[in-house]
């Protein structure tokens, strides 16, 4: 290095500046650029504060909702006791009405027609089925009515997302039902009118059997004006002691109406509220495809054409808050390993000794030519294969607004839109340079500064998936998620890198 000192001295000898480079000439330009850089820095700082504030607001909001929910659960337990305490006063004369009314409301299920799959489903679905084999006691109609009112009041205030209505009646054998009973016919008309007057429709999602208990699950849709309750032919049921009507995904108002309807119909109805479960935690893992998506210039386009997709792995923990049965908000922590490679050919010049024609002599008479050659050192061009492997371990915070769509029985279609704040990444790279176009012999070199880098950035998210409800609390699912970088990840000024990530994964969820 010392040998080049003379060069350094010569090239770094300071010259006198011309007038065009004086402070007076340059001042405005420098200060203008200084202002624009300062403004840009402030803008970046402003966005960082915005993101931090949003994250903080989200954490505070979720915490508040969590605390409120805990209070609601405490209230639920208190109300449960009141409801259950009304069981002891039942009148035998309500039995006929009860059974007969259920006959009209619930008259399309024949347990003999239940498929093995449905029976099996039911066996796995025992967690919240309340078995009730006790005899119907003397009942006080007024007390039962009060119990419903109390429970409905609770339901309204607690914003429950689930509630169950148990219809309890003494099990009898088929043929003991008196369908001509005037009182039950009146009640039948009453509930039919009440249900049909509501802007809702009720559709059955499944029938589940648990020993001697049948559970029928309904969903209520508010956007369908046609009200219809699937009916079970109770006359065909034998050895049934309990039937539970369990309403899921219903609004508070709909539950209130249905509870009131059953209350009119059956004085011995018991309403047992299930504790609300507005939160869920999801753990997901899967594979992704990542592209830096270079562009904005010919060089960017060329780089993009070199890009090859390589699958990476990812995992996520997501906390979800159920705003209402249709909408959820979710936030969590996402880890992804993003891989890609740039695969291209380089021109290589090799200097080698070759026999080359230096002179051509032509015989003027015969026309023959003589080539004179000499061994000379010449430069020839070869192509060599070069492959860059880039790997980034990225940690990010996704925030999603999800919409649920009930498809069939236990399947739920979920779509979502949101943003992902990328915290940063550990980047590494490897360049493999072949001696020829086939990598038959090559050298490998590690490097850390790639063509792009993940700094604090935001991605736009779109997701879609299907959930399968295992139980009331747990579910499995498959998700597809697309992520588009809203910031430029390129480390170079001459091209941009608006990254794209496609993610597919399996997930397990648990509600609490």
């Amino acid at each position: 290095m010392a040998k080049n000192e003379h060069l350094k001295r010569k090239l770094r000898t300071e010259d006198k500046l011309s007038d065009s480079m004086s402070w007076d000439s340059m001042q405005n330009g420098i200060l203008n650029k200084l202002d624009s850089h300062t403004a840009a820095d402030k803008k970046v700082s402003f966005y960082k504060w915005i993101y931090a504030t949003l994250a903080l607001a989200l954490i505070v909001a979720v915490s508040i909702l969590f605390i409120l929910n805990k209070n609601t659960q405490a209230h639920t337990v208190a109300n449960k006791n009141i409801v259950l305490s009304t069981q002891s006063t039942a009148q035998t004369n309500t039995l006929k009405t009860e059974v007969h009314s259920d006959t009209d409301i619930i008259n399309n299920i024949d347990p003999k027609n239940l498929t093995n799959a449905e029976i099996k489903q039911a066996t796995n679905h025992t967690s919240e089925i309340t078995r009730n084999t006790q005899q119907t006691q003397n009942n006080n109609t007024g007390a039962a009515g009060n119990a419903y009112l109390e429970n409905n009041t609770f339901t309204n205030s607690s914003n429950n997302h689930k509630a169950s209505i148990n219809t309890r009646f003494r099990a009898t054998t088929a043929g003991t039902i008196n369908k001509d009973d005037a009182q039950s016919q009146q009640a039948e008309r009453l509930i039919a009118n009440q249900i049909q007057s509501q802007p809702s429709s009720i559709s059955m999602q499944g029938i589940f059997q648990n020993e001697n208990t049948y559970e029928k699950i309904f969903s209520v849709k508010t956007d369908d004006t046609k009200s219809q309750l699937n009916q079970i032919p109770i006359s065909q049921l034998t050895e049934i002691e309990d039937i539970k009507l369990k309403l899921i995904n219903t609004t508070t108002y709909e539950r209130s109406v249905l509870s009131a309807s059953f209350a009119e119909l059956d004085n011995s109805l018991q309403v047992i509220s299930i504790s609300p479960k507005p939160f869920s935690i999801e753990i997901a893992a899967g594979a992704n495809l990542f592209t830096p998506n270079f562009g904005d210039s010919n060089l960017g386009d060329a780089k993009s054409s070199y890009n090859k997709l390589i699958p990476g792995l990812g995992a996520e923990v997501l906390f979800t808050y159920v705003i209402n049965p249709k909408w959820q908000i979710a936030a969590g922590l996402n880890y992804q390993s993003l891989e890609n490679k740039l695969d291209y050919y380089n021109e290589k010049e090799v200097r080698e000794n070759k026999d080359v024609v230096t002179r051509i002599e032509v015989n003027a008479i015969s026309g023959d030519s003589t080539h004179h050659t000499a061994n000379e050192n010449v430069v020839t061009t070869h192509w060599q294969k070069v492959v860059h492997y880039n790997s980034n371990k990225m940690l990010s915070i996704p925030v999603l607004l999800n919409r649920n769509w009930n498809m069939h029985k236990r399947f739920k279609f979920v779509t979502g839109v949101g943003l992902q704040y990328n915290l940063g990444a550990i980047s590494s790279g490897k360049a493999i340079t072949g001696d020829d176009g086939e990598l038959s012999s090559y050298k490998i070199e590690d490097y850390t500064n790639g063509f792009y880098s993940i700094q604090s950035s935001i991605n736009f998210l779109l997701s879609t998936g299907v959930n399968y409800e295992l139980t009331d609390r747990s579910y499995l699912g498959v998700d597809l998620r697309g992520s588009l970088g809203m910031n430029d990840w390129s480390t170079q000024e001459e091209y941009s890198a608006k990254v794209m990530i496609f993610d597919s994964r399996f997930k397990v969820g648990y509600r609490f």
């Binding site: 060069l7 010259d15 006198k16 065009s20 290589k348 063509f451 000024e493």
Partner: protein, 182 residues
């Protein structure tokens, strides 16, 4: 070159200090810019950009970590590279070269040449060669540092330097003789 007092005043965004700092440092900065950028129309803009960045980030300068001259030298070189990138004169996919001769001992026999003559040779040099040659030989960057700065591999940096030296030795040999011996 420049006193600590001027630097401290620059940190307070005092415009008079900016002027003093500029007048003391501008010749050195211009020397660097002139060696990397051979088009005069870009030099003025580069000067303004370099000093804007010096003043913007002067709060981050710590005299314990190095001389102010090194600090502004780094900013000036980075800015020159950025300008060359914008003009796309540095080809990132430059051909690699196997012939790794004793690059560390690259002794360019330009002793007899004047500063002006050397500048003439460098002016004719392709931008890619010249940039790596200047970074390694004149500004004492390591190949790893050059690789990070230019977003190439260290291997590419070595091969480009090798080719730059060969370019000087062979293709410009006639010119050198002409310059040296008239």
């Amino acid at each position: 070159m420049i006193t600590q007092e001027i630097i401290e005043r620059c940190k307070c965004k005092e415009q008079r200090a900016f002027k003093e700092c500029y007048e003391k440092c501008a010749p050195y900065v211009y020397t660097i810019i002139k060696s990397y950028i051979y088009e005069p129309e870009f030099r003025k803009d580069a000067m303004q950009e370099v000093f804007a960045q010096i003043f913007l980030y002067i709060n981050k300068y710590d005299s314990k970590k190095g001389a102010f001259k090194s600090y502004i030298s780094k900013i000036a070189i980075n800015q020159c590279i950025a300008i060359l990138r914008k003009r796309k004169t540095i080809n990132l996919f430059v051909p690699l070269e196997e012939n790794h001769q004793a690059i560390g001992q690259a002794d360019i026999n330009l002793d007899r040449l004047t500063k002006k003559d050397i500048e003439k040779i460098l002016e004719k040099m392709p931008d890619g060669y010249r940039t790596i040659f200047l970074l390694f030989v004149i500004d004492d960057y390591k190949h790893k540092e050059i690789a990070e700065l230019l977003n190439i591999t260290a291997e590419t940096s070595r091969s480009q330097l090798s080719r730059a030296i060969r370019w000087i030795k062979t293709k410009q040999l006639v010119n050198l003789k002409t310059i040296t011996y008239g």
